[in-house]
């Protein structure tokens, strides 16, 4: 790994001002499980001079309940999401998603903020510099997408525009289904970004000197049933081929609300709104569930090698829904 300066900061203001002072040559480091791998492999042409360590900022590692919902600090470890009684009780999809991330070691060190901001796993993008040199592509601002014409078996089946890399974050999928918002602060002040607007085809909505301050998760309807499912090639310690988080609210025999979020199929987590609509006001028999699952992937546009992901997504949606009954 090339050397860089590691700067501890002790307040959010200091973090933002340090980022600003470094004029684009600084990056935030939290648990370091992703960024250090990115730097070690030197996958990007520009290499930061400074890493701003936000773990030294006190008071950013909390899970707090108030009347509107749950507030989660960006430094909360994934392991703490898994073990938190409130999260387990009220936000089953979130605990479930966090539980499937990597290994115990990764979950003990990796943070919620870092998980949302982790870089994509596209294998062209992640190609290390050490042998033959890094591969440049559209996402790195130089040349065409290599996956579009190459091996795209793990890439997007929805919404790729130029770049077909998928968002690898599992908890983003759960947070989308929960309707969460991400509070940030930066050189231009604070703002709150709904999860669905946080991700874009080339990364996320953060400015270079902006950081995540809090994740705000509204209370889900009390009687909502929740289910997170993730499909991987290797059973544990693997990124999703497809993941899905669903929430289903029943009123008597009839579904009054359904939310379906899909992961690892698009540049960001994706709501299947048409499928959700098809469930509302219906009895959830097998035919309805399968219809909804079909609608969830209706707009899929698989690339040359990832048509199988459509099938897996369809199956996972049907299974997650039926697990909620």
């Amino acid at each position: 790994m090339k050397s860089f300066q590691h700067v501890n900061v002790f307040s959010v203001e200091e973090a933002v001002s340090t980022l600003k002072d470094c004029k684009g040559s600084a990056r935030i480091i939290a648990g370091g499980t992703d960024i250090l791998a990115v730097l070690k492999d030197q996958i990007l042409p520009d290499y930061p001079e400074v890493l701003v360590n936000i773990k030294t900022i006190p008071g950013l590692e909390y899970i707090r309940e108030d009347s509107s919902g749950l507030k989660i600090g960006p430094l909360v470890k994934l392991a703490d999401l898994v073990s938190s009684p409130v999260v387990k009780e009220n936000l089953k999809v979130l605990a479930g998603a966090a539980q499937t991330v990597g290994t115990p070691q990764i979950r003990n060190v990796g943070t919620v903020g870092g998980n949302l901001c982790q870089d994509t796993r596209c294998w062209y993008y992640r190609y290390p510099h050490s042998i033959g040199g890094r591969l440049l592509c559209l996402r790195k601002g130089s040349g065409p997408c290599l996956a579009a014409t190459g091996d795209n078996r793990y890439h997007a089946i929805f919404g790729g525009r130029g770049c077909f890399a998928v968002c690898p974050s599992d908890i983003a999928v759960a947070l989308l289904a929960l309707g969460a918002e991400i509070k940030t602060t930066g050189a231009r002040g604070s703002r709150t970004i709904p999860v669905q607007d946080f991700f874009n085809p080339l990364g996320n909505a953060l400015e270079p000197e902006e950081m995540i301050l809090e994740i705000q998760v509204p209370n889900p309807p009390a009687e909502a049933k929740q289910q997170f499912l993730k499909y991987t090639i290797r059973k544990p310690i693997d990124f999703a081929i497809v993941s899905v988080a669903v929430l289903v609210v029943m009123e008597g025999e009839v579904c009054s609300e359904a939310r379906i979020a899909l992961g690892a199929v698009a540049p960001g987590p994706l709501r299947a709104t048409e499928a959700e609509g098809a469930l509302k006001g219906k009895r959830l028999d097998t035919t309805t569930l399968e219809e909804a699952a079909g609608l969830a992937v209706k707009e899929a546009k698989p690339l040359s090698m990832n048509g199988y992901k459509v099938e897996i997504a369809r199956a996972l949606v049907a299974r997650a829904l039926s697990a909620c009954l």
Binding site: K2, S3, A37, D41, R121, W123, Y124, R126, Y127, P128, S130, I131, G132, G133, G150, D151, R153, Y231, I233, R234, K235, P236, I237, D238, I241, M305, N306, G307, Y308, E311, I312, R314, A315, L316
Partner: protein
């Protein structure tokens, strides 16, 4: 069914009747090095790194196939802290090495042939500087088209990878190995049924845990070199690299501490790291530490040969296989490694021919294998050495035949397996006296699988299926030098030292050797210490490969220990005034048989022998009957003994997601004699787990010579949750020439898994999966294709 098993049990009881009085061999003894490894105190090569060592780094090729136009190292040389920068012109000796032939350059000079070719080396005071120096080296290339597919590379108009390869047959074809037996054309013309299919198996990585490292230390007194590295064949490492260092072999000492697994890979990769560290150490006259990163291990070191197999099989209506006709094309990668030259060193290529007919007595056979250069990492030895590929094809073919005949696949196999006196397709007569437990393996697996019970076919999207396969696998290498030597020494207190150049890499060889020595000498297990893998401390025991060490080296240890024992008994007969034939040594005591009151502690007898000019060291040797195998027709007796086995699996496949779950896994292996049953079970588990990875998820993805999945980030190997509970059955039909009847077990368990899973998939879905691995992507795509065809 019942009858067969009972008969077999009678037979087996008789076989084992004379082994009841063993004290150490056959016991479930815990592995000697297990605790130190679990505690983290065992020292691997990398643990011997010291702060005063220089750090070596290599600049590897930017392109998989290119001419080197110009290299400018001047900026790197000027960097403070850089001690040496080397290009090909700075090498002390021959710029080439390799186990079979020196065709792999230490530093590429004019051309790079894959991305693992070094173009320049650096030694610096620390890693950071060494890496910085690499960035400052400028190389100009003229890029050539890279070859990925051996089927393309073997065509006449393909670009040449080696312009003048010293061994290549023709163009990019390194070698062609043939086997012919009987009249194949006639058999096909007369066949009732012909089965023909194409099979493909992927290139995979060994995925050993311990990285490749080398510490190279110049010896200021002899002018020689000490190389410490994880190595599977220390003596060959020395022999192959001495000319690179321009040193005679007696000035090169290679030492391999405990090794964190090799699976065949560390027969070659140790040459890669030792050559680099060695030339840097000679150049700088300092100790150099060189380690490959995981990505470099993926890209540079050897892989399992990918194969493309066309398999035709002819049979009668009654289910007797009458002929096979097989063509195999192997992806050789850029260099020969263990890929095979001409007879007798045709290595992996030869095994694909030899095992093309499986464990069956097939009277007519034609098999041809081509080993073809590509711009991929060199393919090398990997657990099974060509056999897993060959068995994937032939065991799938057997299943196809059973289906066509509507015959039970086990019944079909029983009609065709080799029995006492039968010849294999390579012409060797299978003998009961060398251990022939195939039928027992088949019967036991059938019983544990509850094969007779109809299978519960699960409803919904999950479909169940069962698959079966068998194997025969030779112990040892079919090379003229096959054999082993070791030193056995009595210390004057009666404890024993064995010095042997084999490698302990997790297979438990230290423990097995200790058991063999203790049993032979009649001493306690704890009174024997086995010293391994040091070319200056022990004679050549041959490579630790080919499932050979327990058997071949074990016999050398018995030989050495028997010489010592005889000397002591001889001496004791004079001391105790008895005929030496009446003396025995057991449990650390020397005594006249039948007279326990004469017992003397072994230690005092040895001490007395020492002062009476009885030598306390012996060289143990053993050679099997000389291996034969003709390059003309592939006929001969390549190995002295064969392990056998059978495997059954039951799987559940999810037709919506392509997921495969193995719900039942039964594996039986005939090992002749389990010197240590724990070790044998661990080999079976580990081998089978490797087979599962190969079947379900592992595949190196190369395009235009570039590897996309070059680390464990995107190259999955099975985790504990992907490996099912295994039902393991040890079968023991002794090999008359093996130590206590043993045959090799290191590689065979990797062989039957893929075809068994493939056959179970067929059983579940009615779809042929003739390409490994069976990833969800492939399963779903094949199901779709099948549905489209049938709708």
């Amino acid at each position: 069914m019942g009858v067969i098993l009972e008969d077999l049990e009678q037979e087996v009881k008789a076989i084992h009747a004379d082994q009841n009085d063993l004290n150490v061999v056959g016991k479930r003894i815990k592995r000697i090095e297990a605790l130190a490894k679990a505690l983290g105190t065992a020292r691997y090569a990398a643990d011997l790194k010291r702060d005063d060592m220089l750090i070596g780094k290599a600049l590897f090729a930017k392109h998989p196939h290119a001419l080197i136009k110009k290299i400018d190292t001047s900026r790197a040389e000027e960097l403070e802290g850089v001690i040496a920068v080397m290009t090909a012109k700075d090498l002390p000796g021959r710029n080439g090495y390799g186990i079979l032939i020196p065709d792999k350059p230490v530093i590429a000079e004019k051309k790079v042939k894959y991305q693992g070719d070094p173009v320049a080396l650096v030694a610096a005071v620390n890693e950071e500087i060494a890496k910085k120096a690499l960035d400052l080296i400028e190389v100009e290339y003229a890029v050539l088209p890279a070859l990925d597919d051996p089927r393309e590379a073997m065509k006449d108009d393909a670009v040449l990878i080696h312009e003048n390869h010293p061994a290549a047959d023709k163009g990019n074809i390194l070698t062609e190995v043939s086997l012919t037996r009987g009249d194949v054309d006639k058999a096909f013309a007369e066949a009732d049924i012909i089965i023909e299919n194409l099979y493909e198996t992927p290139m995979v990585d060994h995925s050993y845990l311990e990285p490749d490292v080398c510490i190279a230390e110049p010896d200021p007194i002899t002018g020689g070199l000490l190389l410490i590295a994880p190595a599977q064949f220390v003596h060959a490492t020395k022999r192959s690299l001495a000319p690179v260092f321009n040193l005679p072999p007696n000035k090169v000492r290679v030492l391999s501490p405990v090794v964190g697994a090799g699976y065949g890979g560390k027969e070659d990769s140790c040459l890669d790291v030792c050559s680099i560290a060695g030339v840097l150490a000679l150049r700088t006259k300092k100790t150099v530490y060189f380690e490959l990163t995981r990505e470099e291990i993926f890209r540079n070191t050897g892989k399992r040969h990918a194969t493309y197999i066309k398999h035709r099989l002819a049979a009668t209506r009654e289910g007797k296989v009458t002929a096979i006709d097989v063509e195999t094309i192997l992806d050789k990668g850029a260099y020969v490694s263990m890929g095979g030259l001409r007879e007798p060193t045709h290595a992996v290529t030869q095994r694909t021919v030899m095992y093309a007919g499986g464990a069956y007595a097939i009277p007519n056979a034609r098999a041809k294998s081509y080993s073809v250069f590509t711009n991929h990492p060199y393919s090398c030895a990997m657990r099974g050495f060509g056999a897993p590929q060959a068995y994937f094809a032939v065991e799938s073919q057997m299943d196809e035949l059973a289906r066509k005949l509507e015959m039970d696949p086990i019944e079909l196999r029983l009609k065709n397996i080799v029995r006492d006196g039968d010849r294999t397709i390579f012409g060797q007569v299978m003998k009961k006296s060398r251990g022939l437990g195939l039928e027992e393996c088949i019967a036991k697996v059938k019983e544990r699988m509850e094969w007779e019970k109809p299978l519960e076919r699960t409803a919904g999207s999950r479909k169940r299926g069962r698959g079966f396969s068998t194997f025969l696998y030779g112990t040892g290498v079919p090379l003229p030098f096959e054999g082993a030597s070791c030193y056995a020494t009595f210390q004057t207190d009666g404890t024993v030292s064995i010095a042997v150049s084999s490698t302990e890499m997790g297979q438990g060889l230290l423990t097995a050797f200790t058991q063999i020595a203790a049993e032979t000498l009649g001493v306690d297990f704890d009174n024997v210490v086995v010293n391994i893998s040091d070319t200056d401390a022990s004679p050549d025991a041959g490579p630790t490969v080919a499932s050979r060490s327990t058997t071949v080296v074990g016999n050398a240890i018995i030989n050495g220990c028997t010489q010592l024992k005889n000397r002591i008994m001889d001496f004791a007969s004079r001391e105790l005034k008895a005929d030496s034939r009446d003396i025995d040594i057991k449990e650390g005591k020397v005594f006249i048989v039948g007279k326990p009151e004469t017992a003397v502690p072994l230690g005092s007898m040895v001490a007395k022998a020492f002062v009476n000019q009885v030598p306390l060291s012996a060289t143990g040797v053993w050679y099997p009957p000389r291996p034969t195998f003709s390059g003309e027709d592939g006929q001969g007796d390549p190995m002295h003994a064969y392990a056998f086995g059978a495997q059954g699996v039951e799987i559940e496949v999810d037709t919506e997601t392509g997921e495969i779950d193995i719900v039942k896994f039964v594996l039986a292996c005939d090992v002749g004699k389990a010197i240590n049953p724990v070790n044998v079970e661990q080999q079976m588990e580990g081998g089978a787990a490797m087979g599962i990875g190969w079947s379900l998820m592992e595949e190196i993805d190369m395009s235009n010579g570039v590897m996309k999945n070059d680390s464990f980030k995107n190259y999955p190997i099975p985790s504990i949750k992907d490996v099912p509970e295994m039902d393991l059955i040890i079968v023991e039909h002794p090999n008359e020439l093996g130590p206590f009847g043993a045959k090799g077990i290191g590689e065979p368990p990797t062989v039957p898994t893929a075809p068994a899973i493939r056959n179970a998939l067929y059983d579940a879905l009615g779809i042929k999966f003739n390409k490994i691995p069976f990833t969800p992507q492939r399963v779903i795509e094949e199901i779709k294709k099948y549905e489209n065809k049938n709708s």
